[in-house]
Amino acid sequence: MKKTLLPLINLKYSTLALLYSLLVVLAVPENAYAMHIMEGYLPSTWCAIWYLLTLPFFILGLVSINKTVGLNPKMKMLIAFAGAFAFALSALKLPSVTGSCSHPTGVGLGAILFGPAVMAVLGSIVLLFQALLLAHGGITTLGANAFSMAVVGPFVAYGVYKLCRRLRTPLWLAVFSGAALGDLLTYLTTSLQLALAIPDATGGIPASFTKFAAIFAFTQIPLAVSEGLLTVLIFNLLYTYSQNELVELAIIPEHLQGEVR
C-alpha cells in the first residue's frame, strides 16, 4: 500500500468545506470583482511606478533562471513545466460563491520549486500573453499586474512554504498553504493598487481599499483553495515521476530518495 503526501481527507473536511460555502453565500454582497486591473484603469503615474517596482524582480528572475539552468541544464524542462502550470491555471475562469468569476494564478508551484524570483519572469510572460491576445489585463497595467501576480504572489507562496517546513508540517500542507495564500495575497495586492490610485473622496485610501478588498477576498477565497489543491495534485505527480529533480532542488531530503512515500 503506497502512501503519498496527502493523508486521506475524510468526510469531516468535506462537510466543513460545504458549510463554509454556505456561510460565504449568506454573508457576501451581490456583486464581486477580481482578476487583473484593466487597460487604462490605472493613472499613468501609477503604471510607471509599478513597472519600476517590478523591474528589479524581473531582472533577478532572469539571473535566477540562468543560474538554475547553468547548474543543471535538465532543469530547463521543469522551469517550463512551472510556466505551463501558470499558463493553464490562468486560463481557467472559475465561478466563485459571490456569483462572479476569477481565475487562479498558478505561480505558487514554480515559487516553491525554484524560489520566488523565477516566477517574476514566467508570470510576466503569462500576463503579457493575456494582455495582448485576450484584452485581459493590459499593457499599461502590466507592471502593476505583474507586481501582484508575479512578485507578491510568488514571494508569499515561497515564504509561507518555507515557514511551514520550518514548523515541520507535512509537505502537502506546506505546498497547499503556500499556493493558496500566494493566490489570495495576489488579489489583495490588486485591491491595494486600485485603492492607492483611486482613493475614496471622503474616506481616502483606507475606505477605497476596504471596498475593493472586502469584495476581492470573498471572491478569491474558494479559488485560492482550489489553487492550493491543484498545486498539491501536481506536486504529487512530480513527487512520483520527477524525484531526482526535487531532491536536487532540496525539496525532498536526500535520504528519502527512492522510497515513494
Binding site: K2, T4, L5, I9, L18, S21, V25, N31, A32, Y33, A34, M35, I37, M38, E39, G40, S44, M77, L78, F81, A84, F85, F87, A88, L89, S90, A91, L94, P95, V97, G99, S100, C101, S102, Q130, L132, L133, L134, A135, H136, G138, I139, T140, L194, P199, A201, K211, F212, P222, V225, S226, L229, L230, L233, I234, Y239, T240, Y241, S242, V260
Partner: protein
C-alpha cells in the same frame, strides 16, 4: 497517489459546482468588468486613458484563445509527466 489525486480533483470540482448551484441566477460575469463599476462609484470623473490595442472580435474568438492558452499549458504538463514516467519505467526495466 492516484486515489489521493482523484480525491483532490473531486474537491476542486465540488468547489466549482457549489457556487453554480447555490448562487443560482447570478451572472457569473468576468469580475474585472464589474470592477469598473466600483471605480465609477468611487470616482465618477475617472476616464480610462488607454484601451486595449487588440480585442478578440467576438466571444467565440476569445474562448478560442482561452482554450488555446489552457491547451498549451496542459499539453506541456502532460508531455513532461509522460516523458518522466517513461524514463522511470525504462530504468526499472533494465
Amino acid at each position: 497517489m492516484l486515489r489521493n489525486n482523484i480525491l483532490l480533483l473531486a474537491l476542486v470540482v465540488a468547489l466549482v459546482v457549489v457556487p453554480l448551484v447555490m448562487v443560482n441566477g447570478a451572472e457569473f460575469g468576468g469580475a474585472d468588468g464589474q470592477a469598473e463599476e466600483v471605480i465609477a462609484e468611487i470616482n465618477p470623473d475617472y476616464r480610462p486613458w488607454f484601451s486595449s490595442i487588440w480585442e478578440p472580435p467576438s466571444g467565440e474568438i476569445e474562448s478560442l484563445l482561452f482554450a488555446l492558452q489552457g491547451a498549451l499549458g496542459a499539453g506541456f504538463i502532460s508531455y513532461y509527466l509522460g516523458y518522466m514516467k517513461g524514463k522511470k519505467n525504462s530504468k526499472r526495466d533494465q
